[in-house]
């Protein structure tokens, strides 16, 4: 098997995640989709790392995880406070930018 397949898999997962972000309204699910996209990227990085024979790709993936963790913490906090004030977790309800 060609390890390039990992990249195809990563691309597929990324695309699924992106589509999910676009079509789901529940903020939590949207968030999960974003996590999925990040994970897809990580997979690609790891595959690249193996391809190039050095560990830099893994380092990047590691940092991605850390940043994702930070993002999740803040993002979920936002969702919670949004829910508190609007009693809804739908991203469409937060449309104050409308006209």
């Amino acid at each position: 098997m060609n390890p390039v397949n990992y990249l195809y898999l990563a691309a597929l997962l990324f695309t699924i995640g992106a589509t999910g972000v676009l079509i789901r309204r529940n903020a939590i699910v949207v968030f999960m989709c974003i996590e999925l996209m990040l994970n897809a990227c990580n997979l690609a990085f790891v595959a690249f790392s193996r391809m190039h024979g050095n560990l830099d790709g893994q380092i990047i993936a590691f940092f991605t995880m850390v940043v994702a963790a930070a993002e999740v913490v803040v993002g979920l906090a936002i969702i919670v406070s949004l829910f508190r004030s609007r009693h809804s977790a739908s991203v469409d309800d937060a449309s104050l930018m409308k006209l």
């Binding site: 060609n2 939590i28 790392s49």
Partner: protein, 285 residues
Amino acid sequence: MTAPLQLAATTTLAAGTSTGEAFQFWILGTVAVIGALCTVFMKKAVHSALCLAGTMIILAVFYLANGAYFLGVVQIVVYTGAIMMLFLFVVMLVGVTAADSLKETIKGQRWLALVCGLGFGILLFAGIGNASLNEFNGLTQANSGGNVEGLATLIFTKYVFAFEITGALLITAAVGAMVLTHRERTERALTQREMAEKRVRDGKHLPPLPAPGVYARHNAVDIAGLLPDGTPSELTVSKMLRQRGQIRDVSAEALNDLKALEQRAEERLDRTEIEPATFKREASK
């Protein structure tokens, strides 16, 4: 190290891939894609989260197969273990049972999303297909001193600034999350008396709220009591349930059951002259 890990290690130290890995890839890859699709399309957030967790575990296995032992473990421990749990907590806070409608409300959004997604995917595939990625060096050399040690060397030398900055970022994020979710009390708490007076002043509901219509079900507090005319009163249900939209009404079936039961009891007791009133709710349905 566990057995699969060792298996992966022996294979990935070489530049190529073994049949075992191919087998593993195709099976687990399919599962991962299905998991991802389920994440997107499950109606309930809890299900989505569970599917995502599954996908992530599979990814962890792929990491291991690619020689990223440290990352594989971190993926399971930190990501699947900690972050996904956080998700579940929030899902519970917001409401486990609430199912989203998957009906699209924005005109053209779904089509555009699908077109963009497909297009983007095709482009990515084309890009990967075009790239000359046939050379695989393998990690034999890089992992020779141990994967964790190798990563550590890099993190604390070449990437030390990035590392420190991500540390700062984490702390900031933690503080930020606290600030966002924490509500500071800005004035003195009202005494009970003041609260009572305020209620009177505001002309709010003064007496205690009515009790729910308890119809001995598995969770009867979420069933609204019926007003004399037979309509359910939302006031009888807890505010939190109201907000989550988790009020159930006493279903017509249950009422009919009740009616049948009563009728049978009447028959048995030979008291048939009383005809119970039909529920408006039933009629309107």
